[in-house]
Amino acid sequence: MLVAVVVNRMAMALLTLAGMAVVVFVLLRVVPGDPIAMMISPGASAADIAALKAHYGLDAPLFTQFWIWIKGVVTGDFGTSITLHVYVTDVLASRLPATIELAILALTVAVLSGGAVAVTGTLVRRTAGEAVIDGLNSVMLAVPDFIWALALVLLFAVAMPVLPLTGRIDPALAEGFATRFYMIESLVTGRFAVAANILKHMALPTLALALPLAAVIARLLKQSLQEAMVQDYVLLARIKGFGELRLVLQEALRNAVGPTLALTGVQFTFLIGGTVIVERIFAYPGIGNLAIDAVINRDFPLIQGLVLLFGLIFILINIGVDLTVAMLNPKLRHG
């Protein structure tokens, strides 16, 4: 059963990716401005321009260009970035780890803080405390990562200048890494001072990405928890003399977490999308920031590679969520 689900989802995913590839490729080619115009100096002759176009294969017919590109993509060759003059796969590989670390940290912070708010709200239900939590949360639900990021910039630039506002690591410390996963590597190799420096740089972008997701998690989980708290098994545990916190954490949470898990998966893709603008605001060197530069510079091969990469990440997350939900749901597991 699960195997059938996976195969089906994979086939759908390939179809979606192929659709995205066609859409992006065609979309970019109908643009009036072409990337060559961004590269040449004002004095370049028509022959120079033609030579450059030929060099990047931009003089071939549209279908031929597409065929060459797709043949490359299938073999793992995404072409050469027009502005950076390196292989697209190399650029993506060097930038992706920064975004993965940021997204996973933000997801963790969101789940923990959203969960904590939901549990607190359940403990203080039907009191003024719950009304305060609900009121704050309804405002938080409306505020997107873009506004959080800039509010944090404002707060930490002016009121509390204790955290860096840009970058991923102090340049002096960014030496001697074997991988691009700076955070994970410095933790694994025991360089905790370096890890602390990276964490300081990641703190604000992480918060900006985590807070909107935390608000969503807090609302849904609190609702599920409160529904669970009036069930018979919780009543039974209460009669047995369990404390309120233990009731919530041990009895209600286990039964209430399902819907939140499914929603968190979907919302995680929004968080990844949010890295584009949040990385820009904090000059964080991930694929999101790269994407804005690529679009502004009309770097066709890089844009195409980035869009497919984002699409792939989204699809993998969705499949992962479906599988987790299916595995946790006995009806689907055996049905």
Binding site: A142, I272, A291, I296
Partner: protein
């Protein structure tokens, strides 16, 4: 002989208040609606209401702090930016772009998305399969990336920003309206309308559409909040209207550059954006509670 109240009204008890009355009793709706009404007045009356010319530069008056801070200048309530332009006046003129995008982009996205959603939910079959697959492919793109990509393709400017938002966000309406239409199409009143011999367009637009409308209005309100943020993001990246038109996103981008020297240049438009987004959301919440019969119960 005195008039007795008509018999019909005596034995039914008090009538439930109408939707309009319920809306006016909801503090969320009144507060948020009032704020948005104020923005509309500011946008329309900007040339009369703004104290200064929003484009007038004066290097002698650059980065003047807001009133109440040391070195503040009279007449510049919210201070000036790096080029000596009045922040308050730019804020007031900035409402024009924000609200235009909110109403036009959200309205068009709603129109296109709900039309496709109605068709998919009502006709089912191949039409639904096609539209649903299209929505799936669409939603696989990160929205921020797609909007930047689209504006880069279409060129900068207000029309491109609006087009980008419509092209991206019609799916929000389409998905919800499709589900809602499918649910409504199963109801007894639709079966009855079919039995009487109503034509399919008549059933769709005269019977089903009015019952989907409450959900649509709520979605539309929420979409307006989203559109305002998307425009601000595109202005921030430098892909919205040209820099000689004041926009909140453009002001935010300038403020981000000089946040250490003049925090108010960032704080003022950011607060305006925050308040506007929260207002549209609270209005949507309030409308949902008043209009949606399921939520109301």
């Amino acid at each position: 002989m005195k008039h007795w109240p008509p018999a019909s009204s005596t034995d039914r008890g008090p009538k439930p208040p109408s939707a309009a009355v319920r809306l006016l009793r909801d503090p969320k709706v009144v507060g948020a609606g009032g704020f948005i009404a104020l923005l509309i007045v500011l946008a329309i009356g900007a040339p009369l209401l703004a104290p200064k010319d929003p484009l007038a530069q004066s290097l002698a008056l650059a980065t003047v702090p807001p009133a109440g801070f040391p070195e503040a200048e009279p007449g510049y309530l919210f201070g000036t930016d790096g080029l000596g332009r009045d922040v308050l006046s730019r804020l007031i003129f900035g409402t024009r772009v924000s609200l235009t995008v909110a109403f036009v982009a959200a309205g068009l996205a709603c129109l296109i998305g709900s039309l496709l959603g109605l068709l998919a939910g009502f006709l089912r079959g191949a039409v639904e399969a096609l539209i649903s697959r299209l929505v799936d492919i669409w939603m696989a793109f990160p929205p921020v990336l797609l909007s930047i990509l689209l504006v880069a393709v279409l060129g900068t400017g207000l029309h491109s920003v609006i087009a980008a938002i419509v092209v991206i966000d019609w799916t929000r309406f389409c998905r919800v309206v499709r589900t809602e239409t499918m649910a409504q199409a199963q109801m007894d009143y639709v079966v009855a309308a079919r039995a009487i011999g109503f034509s399919r367009p008549a059933i769709l637009f005269r019977e089903i559409l009015p019952n989907v409308a409450p959900v649509l209005i709520v979605l539309l309100t929420l979409e307006m909040g989203i559109a305002v943020v998307v425009e601000a993001i595109l202005s921030f990246v430098g892909l919205s209207v040209s820099s000689d038109t004041p926009t909140w996103g453009g002001m935010i981008a300038e403020g981000r550059q000089i946040v250490h020297e003049a925090w108010w240049v960032l704080a003022a438009p950011l607060t305006a954006l925050f308040a506007t987004v929260v207002a549209f959301n609270q209005l949507g919440d309030g409308l949902a509670r008043s209009l949606d019969p399921v939520l109301r119960r």
